[in-house]
């Protein structure tokens, strides 16, 4: 098992851009390399942060062969001496993919999008016919460990962007946005990110106000149930809004503005101030029924979420360690398969030969019963020995028989024939 790839740890964005491939190119590249014959299985992952080739090959110099294939089939790839490549083999390759799938190797620690990308790579390799038992098992383990890391630890907890943090505050105050009005003041990048993150909560009607109407319309087009409002209607809109995302310059909202907005209203008001300088006077936080979150407050939420994620890293690494060990045991067990296969073939040949001694005029039902009994007898005689040899091959326990013990006992030669 080998892996060669470029990721955000070692390669800058312009290099990653050159080797990033879409789904169809990834499938074609994997199929082309597979057709060269030196690799039995191939899977290729390509995201904005990494492009990686996973290869199962009987060749001892599989890592070099993988890099050579990479350079041949990706013309824009940097030279091997660029220092952009990460190459691993054996257990290190297994561990790398598992870490990738958990989000431990992601630019944003614990991000979950990578799990979908690993799943796509797995499905693509299967559909392209470049997947075999070794990589199939590895990708299944990667998807399983990714889910466990997300469900059993806090590696993916909390929002780690201003937008996500704003959405988390909205959830903590309102749960959902059903029957709620969200006012977005400003249509720049930060306002758009926050508005989209809040929109993901579901429900809610959005009202976008911006000095340049075209920008407001462009943002409104990306939000559900969104309407454009003129900036001079801000006071009236604020009085009806449940959440206000403010990221436009101009005179900040005063305490008096906020107090006016709070008059005669039923629900609390959440003000998310993303402006620098601020869009809302900090003293407005003291108004009854108002929750004011500025950039500093959102950053502390992000920092808290990241800290919680970092705290989870040792636990996730322990999960990865367990899974790597389980995979290695399985791989070592696979090493005993040719010998075991020969053993069972040999026993079956004996069974079939002995069955020929049965009288020709034997009742068909009785013959069928004998077939069943003898087949079962062979399975039961060899079953325990098989299990112990598989276990012995996968562990370092000296009390368990090895493949060599099996070969010696039954007179199986290196090729597996008795």
């Amino acid at each position: 098992m080998f892996h060669v790839g470029i990721d955000h740890h070692l390669a800058p964005l312009d290099v990653r851009e050159q080797v990033a491939v879409d789904a169809s190119v990834a499938a074609r590249t994997a199929a082309t390399i597979h057709a060269e014959g030196w690799a039995t299985e191939i899977a290729l992952i390509s995201t904005c942060n990494r492009t990686e080739l996973y290869v199962a090959s009987p060749e001892s110099d599989g890592a070099d062969l993988a890099l050579g294939a990479w350079l041949r089939h990706m013309p824009a790839a940097p030279p091997p001496t660029s220092g952009c490549y990460r190459r691993t083999r054996g257990a290190a390759s297994v561990q790398h993919l598992l870490r990738v799938a958990c989000g431990l190797e992601s630019a944003i620690l614990g991000e979950t999008e990578i799990q979908g990308q690993v799943r796509l790579a797995h499905e693509r390799a299967r559909a392209g016919g470049t997947l075999g038992p070794v990589l199939d098992r590895l990708f299944q383990a990667a998807l399983r460990i990714g889910k466990r890391a997300r469900d059993e630890t806090s590696l993916s907890s909390g929002g780690v962007s201003h937008g996500n943090a704003a959405a988390e505050v909205v959830r903590r105050v309102f749960d959902t946005l059903e029957d709620r009005r969200v006012l977005v003041v400003g249509a720049g990048r930060i306002a758009a990110q926050a508005a989209r993150a809040v929109a993901e909560i579901g429900g809610g009607t959005f009202f976008v106000a911006n000095r340049t109407r075209e920008h407001a319309e462009a943002l409104a087009a990306t939000l559900p149930r969104a309407h454009v409002r003129e900036p001079d209607t801000l006071s009236a809109e604020l009085a009806q809004a449940h959440v206000a995302i403010l990221a436009a310059g101009g005179a900040p909202l005063t305490v008096q503005d906020v107090e006016i907005a709070m008059r005669r209203r039923r629900d609390p008001l959440l003000l998310v101030d993303l402006g620098v300088p601020r869009c809302v006077a900090p003293a407005a936080a003291a108004v009854r029924g108002v929750f004011l979150y500025d950039l500093e407050a959102l950053e502390s939420i992000v920092a808290g979420a990241l800290a919680a994620r970092r705290e989870a890293v040792p636990a996730v690494e322990a999960l990865v360690g367990e899974e790597v060990e389980a995979y290695e045991l399985w791989m070592r067990g696979r090493g005993a398969m040719p010998a075991l296969h020969s053993l069972h073939e040999w026993a079956e040949a004996i069974r079939v030969a002995e069955m020929q001694w049965l009288p020709d005029d034997l009742d068909p039902a009785a013959r069928e019963a004998m077939e069943r009994v003898t087949r079962r007898l062979v399975q039961r005689l060899l079953g325990r020995a098989t299990a112990r040899v598989v276990k012995g091959a996968g562990s370092q326990d000296p009390s368990l028989p090895t493949v060599r013990d099996l070969q010696s006992l039954f007179g199986l030669d290196d090729g597996g024939s008795p």
Binding site: S154, S157, R172, F174, D175, R265, F291
Partner: protein, 271 residues
């Protein structure tokens, strides 16, 4: 009382206490409530129901004919109410308080159960109206206590959100979620208390003295006023949530104070 009921009603105290510990410890560690506690809670409440039924069968009376039995029934009502809340909301992070209070009330009931206290109305003929009055009063008490606990949860969450204190880990209901729960708890308190009061007046009009009637009416009137006001704020003006939460807490305090009046009446069989 030759029945399994009393040992069972004593044992549930340990059950509630264990479950409360599981919930509170998980909250302290900012972890999800352990699965065993999630199972043990309903099992303890079911065992409590079994104990009360056995008691009722053994005495051939309602399971709240003494102070000890009434407290045990109150603890059971609180536990049951919490199970409904947990099944319909994300209140599990605050479950420790409910189970701890249920454990405390169930523990207070133990002396009354084990000392063979004579039944308050042992000699009195059966009276369905009186039984319904007591049952409804105890259930409304559970609803008011639940409202108080939820109000504490709301105030804690409100303070953290207002002060931007983000503690991470699993969090309970949103402020909006608390608002809905408290609105229902307040309404339930009113819906149970009002008929309990009416039935009580009807059942004891002949036996209760004027002072007892005045004391009881005053207590119930204050409770109803607090609960109705709290309900209205939760329903129509949730932005004044902290005020409504304090009203729910005040209702609990009024209930505890009022108990000083109701308690002797219950003991004397005057209710």
């Amino acid at each position: 009382m030759d029945t399994m009921a009393v040992p069972l009603l004593v044992l549930v105290v340990a059950g509630y206490a264990a479950v409360a510990t599981g919930y509170l410890e998980a909250r302290r560690r900012r972890e999800a409530t352990p699965r065993w506690a999630r199972w043990a809670g309903p099992l303890t409440v079911a065992a409590h129901l079994g104990g009360l039924l056995l008691l009722s069968l053994a005495t051939e009376r309602s399971p709240f004919t003494t102070l000890g039995q009434s407290l045990s029934f109150l603890a059971f009502s609180l536990g049951t109410l919490y199970l409904v809340l947990e099944a319909t909301s994300r209140v599990a992070t605050h479950g420790g308080g409910f189970y701890a209070l249920a454990a405390a009330i169930a523990a207070l009931s133990v002396p009354g159960l084990t000392q063979g206290e004579p039944l308050a109305w042992a000699d009195a003929p059966r009276d369905v109206a009186r039984s319904m009055h007591i049952g409804l009063a105890l259930m409304s008490t559970a609803a008011i206590l639940a409202g108080g606990l939820l109000a504490l949860g709301y105030l804690g969450t409100h303070a953290r959100v207002k002060r931007k204190q983000w503690d991470g880990g699993a969090h309970g209901p949103s402020l909006d979620g608390f608002q809905r729960l408290l609105r229902r708890a307040s309404l339930l308190g009113v819906a149970l208390l009002a008929p309990a009061f009416g039935l009580g007046l009807r059942a004891h009009a002949d036996t209760a003295g004027p002072l007892e009637i005045v004391g009881l009416t005053g207590t119930i009137g204050v409770l109803l006023a607090l609960l109705i006001t709290a309900f209205w704020i939760w329903w129509r003006r949730p932005r004044f949530g902290p005020l409504a939460a304090w009203l729910n807490i005040a209702a609990v305090l009024a209930l505890v104070l009022g108990f000083g009046v109701i308690h002797p009446l219950v003991l004397r069989g005057g209710l």
